[in-house]
């Protein structure tokens, strides 16, 4: 049995309630650097995106500094996200149950988790966020460098820069939308946010949303008392 979705540091602790370690301290720091840079990028980028949002440049000390600092935060985001990518890609590989989960998206949205298949560490929605962010950040850094005139002006033609700025704007809109969905999901599914603050979730949370992952972890508990069982 290959457990792609068990990451280093994932562990289960007996107790009342059961506590399941989900993110190591390193992963959490990595995540929050990424989150902070993404929010700062969205704010500084949106300031230039629409005249009605230009006032956001005030957060960064004016238009000139906003223009100057945005690409540098982008560089931080790129490397920071790359760290997350290395940590999480394996657990985000597509599995058969993800198709079933997606097909029953109605039950997902209405909270009928009992009608969904047992899932590993991530569900298809989380995997969607992971892979779309990976692709979008790649597109954003590439197009961003093309329009980073201060250092890279002479390497591309104006026509290429026009395409790049359009692509950058569209990719940014999509990235911000995916980010909103990501944050909303974390709020909607109560008990999720502590995974990124304290690093752990309750056993009940894991049972409800990622039962396959929980079973895999329980099977690794010492003294062999626990056995993987399948409900139904």
């Amino acid at each position: 049995m290959s457990a792609d979705d068990i990451e280093p540091g994932d562990a289960i602790h007996r107790g009342h309630p059961v506590i399941v370690d989900r993110y190591t301290k390193g992963a959490r720091i990595n995540h929050w650097i990424t989150a902070a840079s993404l929010v700062l990028l969205a704010l500084s980028g949106l300031a230039l995106f629409h005249p009605k949002l230009f006032f956001l440049t005030g957060l960064f000390g004016g238009g000139q500094t906003t223009r100057m600092i945005h690409p540098w935060i982008g560089v931080v985001l790129f490397f920071s996200f790359f760290g997350l990518f290395l940590r999480f890609w394996k657990a985000n590989l597509w599995k058969r149950e993800d198709g079933t989960w997606l097909a029953r998206i109605r039950d997902v949205l209405t909270g009928h988790e009992e009608r969904l298949p047992e899932l590993g560490k991530y569900n298809a929605g989380q995997k969607f966020v992971f892979w779309s962010m990976s692709a979008l950040i790649l597109v954003l850094i590439t197009s961003g460098v093309v329009i980073w005139d201060q250092y890279f002006y002479e390497f591309t033609t104006i026509e290429q820069k026009r395409v790049a700025v359009l692509v950058h704007a569209i990719a940014a809109v999509l990235a911000i939308s995916v980010w909103i969905i990501h944050v909303y999901a974390a709020i909607w599914v109560r008990g999720t946010i502590r995974a990124m603050t304290r690093g752990s979730v309750t056993g009940g949370w894991a049972w409800r949303h990622h039962r396959k992952w929980l079973r895999e972890l329980a099977a690794k508990l010492p003294n062999g008392r626990s056995k993987t069982t399948h409900a139904k």
Binding site: R67, Q150, W188, R190, G203, R225
Partner: protein, 315 residues
């Protein structure tokens, strides 16, 4: 000959146009003034230009700019391109006319065309950094410029340059400061052959007609005026001996217009983009109202405890 603009008086004068005369302001919605001022224009008669670069020197002089000493690579163009200091540049082309087999030395004074529909202004994200006065002059406001380079992408003529020193955009102002006190641009003032003249746009068109008739009588059958309609016409126009192929004049665009990519970027992308983001946020909000929070139940916790304790569990 077009009558030159007389020398200025030494008495202080009030500017004839200013902030109240804006018809366009970048990244802003404004109410244009009820009355438009007479549209001005600069006419550059390429057939009369002798390539002396007096205009180029006058431009540096009036705007108090200095160009770096360059490198000679065997062409007359000096510097090799427009820069944040060189706001106007003589571009030299050696062209062999296939009909006559004559070598023609084409000299075009390059610089901002002061488009009626300026792509630079359309692309600019900084409110008020690019303005258009009702007399047609397109001007950059350095205090408001953030140096993003969007005007460079918006311009169909490849004109604006970002200064590596100040990180602000620069281009020809059509000497808006001189025009405001009744003077013509410094380049026109300096031109020894009257290849550059300045006046109202109508006067310039009439003057151009005479020049074109003269050129036609000398065998330039395709002589004509360059006032490209794709950008709504320009407030800098050329008389060309070969108006049917402007591109031979160092790549003067034939039928320029604001790039459709720029139009899409500055048009539908802005509205659709904000709508998509708004929709994502609204979806979350409405979903939470309808579905309520997804909470872990005590039964879930108990099940997890039984699993961890190794007891068999059946649902």
């Amino acid at each position: 000959m077009f009558p030159p603009i007389p020398n200025p008086t030494t008495k202080p004068q009030r500017p004839t146009f200013g902030a109240q005369d804006l018809i366009r302001r970048s990244a802003s919605t404004i109410t244009p003034p009820a009355q438009r001022q007479t549209e001005v224009a600069k006419l550059i008669d390429v057939s009369k230009c002798i390539g002396c670069k007096a205009c180029q020197a006058a431009c540096l002089e009036w705007n108090d700019l200095t160009e770096e000493v360059g490198v000679n690579v065997g062409v007359y163009d000096n510097p090799h391109d427009l820069t944040a200091n060189t706001l106007t540049l003589m571009r030299f082309t050696e062209w062999v006319n296939p009909e006559t087999d004559n070598l023609e030395w084409l000299i075009r004074k390059d610089g901002c065309m002061h488009c009626e529909d300026p792509g630079c202004l359309k692309a600019c994200p900084a409110p008020g950094a690019i303005v258009q006065y009702s007399n047609g002059i397109v001007d950059f406001d350095h205090d408001k410029c953030i140096g993003c380079g969007y005007c460079v992408k918006g311009c169909p003529f490849n004109i604006p340059r970002i200064s590596e020193v100040t990180h602000k955009a620069a281009k020809c102002t059509l000497c808006s400061d001189r025009v405001a006190v009744g003077q013509g641009p410094a380049c026109a003032k300096a031109c020894p052959t009257q290849a550059i003249v300045f006046g109202s746009k109508d006067e310039m068109k009439t003057h151009a007609e005479g020049r074109i008739a003269d050129l036609k009588s000398r065998g330039y059958a395709n002589a004509g005026l360059y006032d490209p309609p794709g950008v709504g016409g320009t407030h800098v126009m050329y008389v060309l001996h070969h108006a049917d192929k402007p591109e031979i004049y160092a790549g003067l665009p034939n039928n320029p217009r604001i790039s459709p990519i720029v139009e899409a970027w500055k048009g539908v992308t802005k509205y659709a983009g904000l709508a998509v983001i708004g929709f994502a946020a609204a979806f979350g909000f409405v979903h939470h109202l309808i579905a309520g929070p997804n909470r872990v139940s005590d039964a879930d916790e108990n099940a997890a405890e039984r699993l961890a304790d190794g007891r068999r569990w059946r649902s």
